[in-house]
């Protein structure tokens, strides 16, 4: 750690997360320490139930840690109000889900415009950016369609575009290729590299896929709720 090192985008210190179930308390994250630097692509791997999604939720402010600190863009999110966390999320974070989660009642274009509207950027420039992104993910022709008219791969490309449309500094992707075939998975990973790298955005991607692992600058492994750096896989 040096004095002129830039401030990390995200910093987790001793984060734990536990869920109260019917007859027991289940701790899914144990003392997580993690820093994500600006422009960094980090990949988080781990088996099902290892706490990967919980980590994404805590990091995005969707959920609060049971203990420890979550700092986003220099602000302690673990002490922030619900409103503040929502505000940070809508302006500075983009989320991609395994099951796409496009709003079924909005067209593809409207799905992209929604984050802009939420953060008050629905102006001509914002609309232009949405169209450019649609073009970039190859969905210009589908912009007036509703999500149920698109294939899984197309929906996920639209979801990636939606996550980027409001120009977030941090993109969190939870198994973005987990529900796609190889061809579509490669296309989505290609989009991340193509659209995020040049603009210096930070990505934390949770994945099972070795191919996805390959695009990361750093790879972490989450095992039984504990995080540890991992050596690159052979596929890199």
């Amino acid at each position: 750690m040096t004095e002129n090192r830039p401030q990390p985008v995200a910093r987790l210190r001793g984060v734990t997360k536990s869920y109260v179930e019917v007859d027991r308390t289940r701790e899914v994250l144990h003392g997580i320490d993690l820093e994500l630097a600006r422009g960094e692509f980090a990949v988080l791997v781990g088996r099902s139930g290892s706490g990967k999604s919980s980590l994404i939720h805590v990091l995005s402010g969707i959920d609060l840690p049971s203990s420890g600190h979550v700092e986003l863009f220099g602000e302690d999110m673990s002490r922030a109000s619900e409103e503040r966390r929502t505000d940070v999320r809508r302006r500075r974070i983009g989320l991609v889900f395994q099951f796409f989660n496009l709003l079924p009642t909005l067209t593809i274009e409207e799905n992209l415009l929604l984050p802009l509207e939420l953060c008050g950027k629905l102006d001509a420039a914002g609309r232009r950016r949405a169209l450019e992104l649609l073009d970039a993910v190859g969905l210009s022709a589908m912009r007036t369609k509703f999500p149920d008219r698109l294939s899984g791969g197309e929906q996920q490309r639209a979801a990636v575009a939606r996550a980027l449309v409001h120009d977030p500094e941090l993109v969190l992707a939870d198994e973005p290729t987990g529900n796609l075939d190889d061809h579509n998975a490669r296309a989505v990973l290609g989009l991340f590299s193509r659209l995020l790298r040049p603009s210096g955005k930070t990505l934390l991607m949770v994945t099972h896929s070795a191919e996805a692992e390959a695009i990361g600058d750093r790879v972490f492994e989450l095992h039984d709720g504990r995080i540890a750096p991992r050596a690159r896989s052979q596929s890199k």
């Binding site: 995005s60 969707i62 619900e82 809508r90 099951f99 079924p104 009642t105 984050p115």
Partner: protein, 848 residues
């Protein structure tokens, strides 16, 4: 052992307690309304039958006369060598004013003739028949005396006509049978001479009870022999005739009450359908999984039906209990209306009729199963893959919108045909009304889809993507939203229809009273019935009032019952009309220029619209009326507009009355004052001039109108309660529907939260959607409500009561309907909105 399928379904229900409770409540309220109304009406009917039967005792026949039976008839019967058992009776409903206000039946009997008729008047414990003969003595049942808080020797003050008259409690009867106990609870028993003296009807009897042979030949022979002893004004008729006639009077009232009950149940069926649809649709993935692992279609169908049966049974049992509580409240309103308009009855206890319970249970369970049938068939018929796809059900509905709309138009056309073809048949009129509501329900999905298409761009302009999400959420969940909208729209259209009916009725009556009540001052006795002046004014009072120097003209009325040759009765008024009063009559048939000259000189009468309709009378037709001189034809001269009585009534000239019956007493007086006379000052001095001991009402036309409208409003209090209940059922339905709809959208809402929508924003989305749903329901309820009102006014009311009403569609009722729809939807949406806003997005998304 409970099967795994059953266990899964049970767990589903218990894990969605709010939906389960709402479904059960929906069925329960629907059943409760039916049980409540039927039990209240049946209790009033049963009390009346019991009282009539107990008072008639073992009499098989009675001698009746018009206006009464001369006492000499009884003497003639007593001298007949083969005379049957006979007992003279004087009976009248009287208002007890002290020790407390209550209506009691005064029953004057001859204790020596009572033996074969009524056991409680000749041998009940504590009863001393001979004591009856002593002057002003009266007997009450011990229970009634306790209720009134009086003891032996205490005074009972009655209002007889316009006069206060007293009796003294001379004894208490403790009847040995339940029937007698029930009958005597509202009876004050006196010697016949005491009754005649009290009522001022010396030499007159109300009837003579007879026990005639039951064998037909002997009966015919006996009737013929006795009839020869009777004057022309008297007739022998079966003892049951009176109760049949009186019960027949309330038939239309009963049918209308039952129809209102069914309406609430109809809304309940929608609610159950709604709930079961949600319960099935929400578990599409589960059905899909079960089908994939080998559950048969039949098993799924039976599972859904078993759930419906469990909900139906629980709701029905709860509804039966709630219904009894409701009946306790409704019975007061129902008996109040019957007492105001038809006959005196007091209900001491609810009559629990197994048929009512069986009918309500069958309706509750049947309606629930019917509501579940289509969702169950839907779950059964769908292939496993399609079941797993939630959108498949919606897509199916969207593809069927056209077919549904076509079916809706066909059903509407059929209901119009049925209305036209059903003539005067009231139940068929109701069937057509329900078919019309059903047709409206079929049109709702199409109308909703169309409306949302129009609203979506506007919502987008007003509220951006969130507006679009709210709007399109309705069309994307059309299978659920349209049922919720239909249930709300139909419940509110029914209440709007009733509101328009009551408004139209009220406006018509106000207008009619304004034109009819032309006299400046009205004088009448406090009457047992609010629409009949059955009590008489004293001659001294009439003379004093008419002689006031400010009075320049009078109109007098005598309310009577005309005995028809066929044995039934018609309400009538013998009137001496001031020219201004004559001018106030609006004839629907007949020419006033022809009517009035013939009215006083010949045996003629004019009839109200209701009577004309009930008895198919028109100018030129005749009514065979039993007079003092025997049966005579009375020609109908005209049909006038009138709203005093749904049974209708006839008016004959005082001259005609005197010619045929010879009774000069009057029951109400209208006074016309000299121009410039101060009405209030005149009323004050007339009140001061009322002879002591007499109680009369001296009122201005305005006061009489206000009193009439008070009774009008009281009559519709049952309708108001039922409107409220239909509204409650609708709100329960819409709460359930919205809750289930929003629960189904949890993930979508979770995503919105995840990408940055604040809890407040989410609340706005949910409330926007539920508000739009309510607004659409309100929008649809307005035209449906107007259609319902037209059917109620032009068909149901006309067939039930025979009245022509001016249709008055007040913007207030329509706005109220819309506001109620919007308000109830917003209230109903508050919980889902609150719940969604508190929803943890992490929890929702964790499913991934």
């Amino acid at each position: 052992m409970i099967s795994l399928l059953s266990r899964a379904s049970l767990r589903y229900l218990t894990r969605h307690p709010a939906q389960l409770v709402l479904a059960i409540l929906g069925v329960a309220v629907g059943v409760a309304v039916v049980v409540g109304i039927d039990t209240a009406a049946a209790s009033a009917r049963r009390s009346f039958e019991l009282a009539t039967r107990a008072i008639s005792g073992d009499a098989t026949h009675v001698v009746r006369g018009t206006p009464s039976v001369p006492e000499s008839v009884y003497t003639a019967l007593a001298l007949e060598p083969h005379r049957p058992p006979a007992a003279p009776i004087v009976q009248r409903s009287l208002a007890l004013v002290e020790p407390r206000s209550r209506t009691l039946d005064l029953l004057g009997v001859d204790p020596f003739a009572e033996g074969p008729f009524r056991s409680y008047t000749s041998g009940g414990a504590g009863f001393d028949g001979a004591a009856l003969l002593r002057g002003d003595g009266a007997w009450l049942s011990a229970a009634t005396a306790t209720e009134l808080g009086i003891e032996l020797g205490d005074e009972l003050v009655f209002l007889v006509g316009s006069q206060r008259r007293s009796l003294r409690l001379a004894g208490m009867v403790e009847p040995s049978t339940e029937l007698a106990r029930s009958a005597l609870s509202d009876v004050v028993l006196v010697d016949i001479a005491t009754a005649q003296s009290l009522l001022g009807t010396r030499g007159e009897l109300s009837r003579i009870d007879l026990v005639l042979p039951t064998e037909p030949t002997a009966l015919a022979e006996s009737t013929a022999r006795l009839s020869r002893l009777l004057p022309e004004s008297c007739v022998i008729e079966p003892a049951s005739r009176r109760s049949e006639t009186l019960a027949g009077m309330t038939r239309a009232f009963d049918i209308n009450l039952r129809a209102l009950g069914f309406l609430a149940l109809l809304v309940g069926v929608f609610l159950v359908y709604n709930t079961m649809t949600f319960a099935v649709v929400q578990r599409r993935p589960l059905w899909g999984t079960l089908r994939s692992i080998g559950a048969t279609r039949g098993e799924l169908f039976r599972r859904v039906c078993a759930e419906a049966l469990a909900i139906g049974l629980t709701g029905t049992v709860l509804g039966l209990g709630l219904g009894l509580l409701l009946a306790q409240a409704l019975v007061k309103l129902v008996t109040q209306t019957i007492n105001d308009l038809y006959y005196v009855v007091s209900v001491r206890e609810l009559s629990l009729e197994p048929a009512v319970f069986a009918e309500a249970a069958a309706l509750g369970i049947g309606a629930t199963l019917l509501g579940a049938l289509f969702p169950a068939l839907d779950a059964m018929r769908t292939a496993p893959r399609a079941i797993l796809d939630r959108a498949a059900g919606e897509a199916r509905l969207r593809s069927r919108i056209g077919v549904l709309a076509l079916a809706g138009f066909l059903a509407a056309a059929l209901s119009i045909l049925l209305l036209r073809a059903s003539g005067d048949n009231l139940p068929l009129g109701f069937a057509a009304l329900f078919l019309m509501l059903f047709s409206a329900a079929l049109l709702v999905p199409g109308a909703t889809s169309l409306a949302c298409r129009v609203v979506a761009p506007l919502a987008g302009l007003a509220a951006g993507s969130l507006g679009r999400i709210a709007t399109r959420g309705i069309t994307s969940h059309l299978a659920r939203s349209s049922v919720a909208i239909a249930a709300l729209a139909i419940a509110l259209s029914a209440t709007a229809g009733m509101g328009i009916l009551v408004d139209s009725f009220r406006a018509t009556v106000v207008k009619w009273l304004d034109t009819t009540l032309v006299a400046d001052v009205y004088i009448s006795s406090p009457s047992t019935f609010s629409n009949r002046e059955s009590a008489l004014l004293s001659a001294q009072l009439v003379e004093r009032m008419s002689a006031d120097s400010r009075v320049i003209g009078t109109t007098s009325f005598r309310d009577i019952d005309l005995e028809l040759a066929a044995g039934d009765k018609v309400f009538a008024t013998a009137a001496a009309l001031h020219p201004k009063s004559r001018d106030a009559y609006r004839f629907l048939e007949g020419d006033p220029a022809v009517i009035w000259p013939a009215f006083t000189t010949r045996d003629t009468l004019i009839v109200s619209e209701s009577l004309a309709r009930h008895r198919s009378l028109s100018p030129g037709s005749t009514l065979e009326v039993r007079t003092r001189e025997g049966v005579r034809p009375f020609e109908v001269l005209g049909v006038f507009r009138d709203y005093w009585s749904d049974q209708g009534w006839a008016m004959l000239a005082r001259e005609t009355w005197l010619r045929n019956w010879g009774d000069e007493r009057i029951s109400a007086l209208g006074l016309f004052l000299a121009p410039g006379a101060d009405v209030d000052a005149t009323i004050a001095s007339l009140r001061a001039a009322v002879p002591s001991g007499e109680i009369v009402k001296v009122r201005s036309g305005t006061e009489l109108e206000a009193a009439s409208m008070e009774i009008f409003d009281r009559t519709f209090s049952v309708t108001r309660v039922l409107r409220l209940l239909a509204g409650v059922v609708a709100i329960l339905g819409v709460v359930g529907a919205l809750l289930a709809m929003e629960l189904e959208r949890e993930r979508e809402m979770g995503v919105l939260r995840a990408i940055g929508l604040s809890p407040a924003g989410l609340k706005r989305v949910v409330l926007g959607q539920t508000g739009l749903l309510g607004a659409l329901a309100g929008l649809f309820a307005v035209p449906i409500g107007i259609a319902v009102a037209l059917v109620l006014i032009l068909v149901i009311n006309a067939r039930s009561f025979g009245w022509t009403l001016d249709i008055q569609i007040s913007p207030r009722v329509l706005l109220e309907t819309f506001a109620l729809a919007l308000g109830s939807a917003l209230i109903a949406g508050a919980y889902p909105a609150w719940r969604m806003a508190r929803l943890s997005p992490a929890q929702t998304l964790r499913g991934e």
